[in-house]
């Protein structure tokens, strides 16, 4: 038995000593337990938390970018719609303007017609009134003339006077 490992005989570092075995077992187990509980666990949790945080931040940034591009598209659509609306509104406005102008023109024409009609009527009325006036004046002038003529011929004649009065009345009644 001794022959097998004689080259290592007396090589102290390779001799299994019970004292060192016991101490190293106790020390390593303590080291393992203490490190697991007070060092490795918080460190692993810390690393994991940070990794999760970084992942979350990256995801969030990606989401924000997507949202941003979505928003951009929405904006573009809105803008296009607004442009279209503006065009229709403008067209409608033009139409309305045209119709208003046409209407106004129509109205104005009517008004003008009415005014001219009224004017004609007025003129007619005026003319008639003037005619009546003229008739009256002519009548009175004629009477005056006739009076003057008659006064000369029928001076003091009550019959004539009566007749003239009757005539004047007739004229007044007119």
């Amino acid at each position: 038995m001794n022959t097998t490992l004689t080259f290592l005989a007396g090589f102290a570092p390779f001799q299994p000593t019970p004292g060192l075995a016991l101490w190293s077992l106790v020390i390593f187990l303590m080291f393992w337990w203490l490190m697991s509980k007070f060092a490795f666990k918080p460190i692993m949790e810390g690393i994991k938390t940070r990794e999760n945080d970084i992942q979350a931040a990256l995801d969030e940034a990606k989401k924000a970018r997507e949202e941003m591009s979505n928003l951009q598209a929405e904006n573009d659509a809105l803008l296009a719609e607004a442009r279209e609306q503006r065009a229709t509104i403008l067209k409608e406005a033009t139409d309305t303007k045209n119709s208003i102008i046409a209407e106004a023109r129509e109205k104005a024409k009517d008004e003008a017609q009415r005014i001219s009609l009224n004017a004609k009527q007025e003129i007619e009325n005026e003319r008639k009134a003037a005619l009546v006036n003229a008739k009256n004046q002519i009548g009175s002038m004629a009477i005056e003339i006739a009076e003057k003529v008659i006064r000369k011929d029928l001076k003091g004649n009550s019959e004539h006077q009566e007749f003239v009065s009757k005539l004047v009345d007739e004229v007044n009644l007119n």
């Binding site: 038995m1 001794n2 097998t4 490992l5 004689t6 290592l8 005989a9 007396g10 090589f11 102290a12 570092p13 390779f14 001799q15 299994p16 000593t17 019970p18 004292g19 060192l20 075995a21 016991l22 101490w23 190293s24 077992l25 020390i27 390593f28 187990l29 303590m30 080291f31 393992w32 203490l34 490190m35 697991s36 007070f38 060092a39 490795f40 666990k41 918080p42 460190i43 692993m44 949790e45 810390g46 690393i47 938390t49 945080d53």
Partner: protein, 456 residues
């Protein structure tokens, strides 16, 4: 950059030179003391511990040994002979072995607690300072029947030795090589006490006698320098990770900073390139703390072991520690093995029965070989790297004839610096690679045990 490198080389060389010189003094400093047999000279200076206790003499046969005329293991008359010369392999092994004292740069020796058990006296607890270790971590004194030899505790084999005077002086140590009836050579270490040689026995080693050890009369459960190093590195790692973990709470929602940003990429690397690909996205979390603990435990200790003169730890290079890690991996793998895993071992689907006769034993063997390779690979790589560095540094002593020849030392230093620098760079890579390999293989074994097979 080049300036910095050359400055570093210069400082390293200076360091090595000082170290070599120091070594020389230690070896030659006390040649004048003579202690023959019982004529023990009590006049030597007890205060001069740093130099005076390798009482060497008899220049007649320095390269031989040692303790003469061993007649009994319990105190044969003997004289101490200093071994001249430099033994690179013994030095390397000594420097990467565990010890009951923490030695920094062969100058500062920090005593460690000693916990021993023997059947006669039960548990004993004292400081390794009682041995007053000196050069080579050999103790100047013994305590009860224990002595310290090369940083390790030995027991005097003599029954009832010195029970009444707990403290006694040790003059030196030696090894005797003898041949047994079969012609096989055995090495027995002796302690020289009061001019007598006493046979010593090493602590119990669980090698089943395969590595020159075995169960002896005592057990050593001391927190050795490897244990102290392990504790230090674990505390350092815990402090680093704790400050990073706290930052996740206090700096929520902010970018990582400081220790947090230093450790996070490594943790994420283990998760994304080791745990998830091998175990799977849904199951890895249960085993992830183990993988991280293994990775940083091994890496931390590998790197700490790279630092020279800081206790020269070789924790991940000692088979005991890697064996403990391998056993943990083995247990975790097998208690989490699902039906498919066991089916693949005992009854491989889609294979004819006569192939199964061979395949099942192979698979069963593989179950144990997997953690065994984990254990050997790590210990082998790290120990080998340390031995390579120590061998290159050893060039200085070989060329310098153990500090006697200055020209030789200089030549050796000039050779050792680039080689050591290169090796240290390689070792740095090995430190990371071995930690990574151990972790990735653990992940793959666990992954294989929990994998779902839908195709059968």
């Amino acid at each position: 950059m080049l300036k910095k490198i050359s400055l570093f080389c210069f400082l390293l060389g200076l360091n090595l030179m000082v170290f070599a010189q120091h070594n020389h003094q230690e070896h030659s400093g006390s040649h004048n003391h003579d202690h023959h047999g019982h004529s023990h000279d009590h006049s030597h200076d007890h205060g001069d511990h740093s130099h005076g206790h390798n009482h060497d003499h008899d220049h007649g046969d320095h390269h031989e040994h040692h303790v003469n005329n061993i007649t009994s293991s319990c105190g044969s008359p003997a004289k101490v002979v200093h071994h001249e010369g430099y033994d690179p392999s013994a030095t390397a092994i000594h420097h990467i072995s565990d010890a009951n004292v923490l030695t920094i740069m062969d100058m500062v020796r920090i005593p460690l607690p000693v916990i021993l058990y023997n059947k006669d006296r039960g548990m004993e607890f004292f400081s390794s300072g009682k041995f007053d270790p000196g050069h080579h971590d050999d103790g100047h004194y013994g305590y009860k029947d224990y002595v310290m030899y090369h940083g390790n505790i030995y027991r005097i084999k003599c029954p009832g030795f010195n029970e009444n005077t707990p403290k006694f002086e040790v003059q030196g140590f030696d090894k005797v090589v003898y041949k047994d009836e079969k012609g096989k050579e055995h090495e027995t270490p002796y302690a020289i006490i009061e001019g007598k040689a006493y046979e010593m026995e090493a602590k119990t080693i669980w090698d089943g006698g395969l590595l020159g050890g075995g169960v002896t009369s005592f057990y050593d459960f001391s927190p050795t320098k490897n244990v102290v190093g392990m504790l230090l590195v674990c505390l350092l790692l815990f402090w680093m990770f704790r400050s990073a973990a706290k930052a996740y709470a206090t700096r929520k929602g902010m970018a990582p900073k400081g220790m947090q940003s230093f450790l996070e990429p490594v943790v994420q690397f283990i998760r994304d390139d080791v745990a998830v690909p091998f175990i799977g996205e849904h199951k890895y979390e249960k085993f992830f703390p183990l993988l991280l603990a293994i990775f940083f435990f091994i890496l931390g200790l590998n790197l700490w072991g790279q630092v020279p003169f800081l206790g020269s730890l070789n924790v991940t290079g000692s088979l005991t520690v890697t064996a403990v890690l391998a056993v943990i991996v083995f247990i975790i793998t097998n208690i989490n093995g699902n039906k498919d895993y066991w089916k693949h071992i005992f009854n491989m689907p889609g294979v004819p029965w006569f192939v199964k006769l061979i395949l099942t034993p192979v698979e069963l063997l593989g179950m144990f070989i997997k953690p065994l390779t984990l254990m050997l690979r790590l210990a082998g790589n790290i120990s080998a790297g340390h031995i390579a560095i120590l061998s290159f540094v050893g060039l200085i002593f070989i060329f310098g004839d153990a500090g006697k020849s200055l020209t030789g030392s200089l030549t050796g230093t000039a050779m050792a610096i680039p080689l050591t620098l290169f090796m240290m760079a390689i070792e740095l890579i090995v430190a990371f690679v071995q930690a990574f390999v151990f972790t990735i293989l653990t992940a793959s074994y666990i992954g294989a045990a929990v994998e779902e097979h839908d195709h059968h």
